[in-house]
Symmetry: C2
Subunit: 420 residues, 2 copies
Amino acid sequence: MPTVVRLGLLGLGTVGSGLVEIVSKSGSVIESKSGVRLEIVKALVKTKDKPRPLESDKLTFDPDEVFYHPEIDIVVEVMGGIEPAKGYILKALESGKGVVTANKAVLAQYGTEIFEQAKRHGKQLGFEASVCGGIPLIRALSSGMIANDIDDLVGILNGTSNFILTRMYKEKLSYDEALAMAQDRGFAEADPTFDVEGIDAAHKLIVLTELTFQTKATLEDLEREGITKIDPIDIHVADEFGFVIKPLAVAKRTGASLNLRVHPTLVPFEHPLGAVSDEFNAVMVRGDATGEMIFHGKGAGSLPTASAVLSDIIEIARNPTGGIIWNPAASQRFEKSEGRTRYYLRFPIEDRPGVIGRIATSLGDHGISITHALAKLDSSAGNVMIVTHEASESEVNAAMVDIAATVVLRGEPLSLRILG
Amino acid sequence: MPTVVRLGLLGLGTVGSGLVEIVSKSGSVIESKSGVRLEIVKALVKTKDKPRPLESDKLTFDPDEVFYHPEIDIVVEVMGGIEPAKGYILKALESGKGVVTANKAVLAQYGTEIFEQAKRHGKQLGFEASVCGGIPLIRALSSGMIANDIDDLVGILNGTSNFILTRMYKEKLSYDEALAMAQDRGFAEADPTFDVEGIDAAHKLIVLTELTFQTKATLEDLEREGITKIDPIDIHVADEFGFVIKPLAVAKRTGASLNLRVHPTLVPFEHPLGAVSDEFNAVMVRGDATGEMIFHGKGAGSLPTASAVLSDIIEIARNPTGGIIWNPAASQRFEKSEGRTRYYLRFPIEDRPGVIGRIATSLGDHGISITHALAKLDSSAGNVMIVTHEASESEVNAAMVDIAATVVLRGEPLSLRILG
């Protein structure tokens, strides 16, 4: 006899529709593999006008019909955004439902409150879909690597940014052209801010940090830069120097404190993350017992994300007393400086005598040595690109200020870290 | 209040000692993360003479003291081999213990019998450590990807073979030199047959096949070749042609049947598995919902394997009613031919006029076209290496027979598949 699990969906957009598609196509296979029969009972929608993959009597405008529905066992929150999603999740848990969510923004900001609610009502919260879509990363970190102390975690967590940088690299597109292509293919929203400014990746990094390092983190604890300042010239010069620019998220122990960062970074060709292209995500994590491990797959999209939602649903149905351990302490110290690293620097200059010499001298004055330098000038203007040996962030910042004061620059200079 | 879980170990070798080490070093962290306190009560050993990481009153020569011990909750089988390991696992389940094993050989041959025993006694069997050591692959496939139909699975499952081929590639060692280095570092046994002949990888592929495709498989259902015939010249010519030779295990749906293979294969440089080096393992799996996913990490060794064993122990402790779904049906048809693929061929020849022409002509006569050809001759003898367009196995075999009959060869010709 299968266990019948009745689902209520909050939202029937990309992920919700993917879920309906998989249940209708593969429900019987899932049942034969897991012993769990899935039934979708209700879905909260904003409009009944568009064509929907569910019968219209299952659609509702009233959220109470989902989380107060007597027959629903698990509520699936796939509406996104902070409110009303957060309030709905809390109400669903309160009314005795298990909850599965793909909502990293809510978890990054209200994870502790939500998990306390789940514990109070003895219910489980699944969030496999919130980070890296189809990759079963949350269970790998929380359960598969439970015997490990994690030293660091480096990931490409935002598929949109990775897609844009990949297209700029492979097709020599400008940022705007690559963004338009991403929007065209449904990888980027009309307003791409969350993705391209690293906010989405920051939310995911917070979820991973709270889970992996069992420590409370907020957006203020991390350093964040988007990909919008990357010029095609940076990508092609990095390539000449043996690097590919990737949108990285990093959580790293440095002594007693943690360093969290989200920014585009130069990754050496031979590094495994350098080969993670297009909309793919990957996370490299180092445990004291397992050593280095890499998880690589599709981080977003209707079916991959719905696949992760379904894995949570089956886990909750089969292991009602288990669940993911989420118990972040508030005690961790965060350290914004991350020690010494190599840098890529670009200075947009006017072609005046002595400019290149002044930049190089100023870097030397701040104790920064150069491993690669390249000047590309078109008649009167151009760029000087420099790769440094290891330097501290404060040395680099001081040199940048110094250079901006003594050299006429055409625009903002750029500094990017190089993955060690 | 933590849940106290008492462990009995069958074996205290590499993995058993790693387990003791992690429990003693990280037991309290594991407890704070999981709520499970681990206690090692007994360990079955063959001798008490060597130094052991456990107090001597916990060591025993009598297996009954492990699986009939009234206080032991979970029996950990890390002794390896078929018997007595298989009998001990069955007895431990019968006497009401959960069982965690790293033993792919037993599972590949007696998995069904063992899982039936577990079901009969309402106990769980964890086997995360049996394939790809520290990588949480078993749960990823059985739970994380449960909503997926798996199309194919390609992996580097044997770290020893990968280490040997990597050292032959990077340090230009002969097979024997690389094997000696692997033995020196503890990556290969004194008798390396299981690893280098692909038997270990075949066992792991059977476990993955039964789990992923829910179908019963045996060693007879798969095609298997070892790495012992690989000459340094194959590795270096493959490199010139843009490939790296990797020990692959492949499970692939072809229509209604499954094709299982374990053999060294030419992998294009740009393929993600081409970058998996040394003792590392990786598995690439394609699900209908998630698309392509890659798991990469250390596949063997004391601590990575013990980490996987511990993840099973915690899962069983926290989810006593759950467990991995293992329900292979006997009905699947296996198909040894795997359709058309590109081939790398090497013919060891004497330098006589017309030999190269006869080889090329014979291939053409069998409908096989050539994309790369290279002859390397040292005065009187040498090799002809050929890369073909796609051809069927029967075409290639027929051409090889034909060539062996018409050309004087110095030794066995070699044919390797190229990953498409």
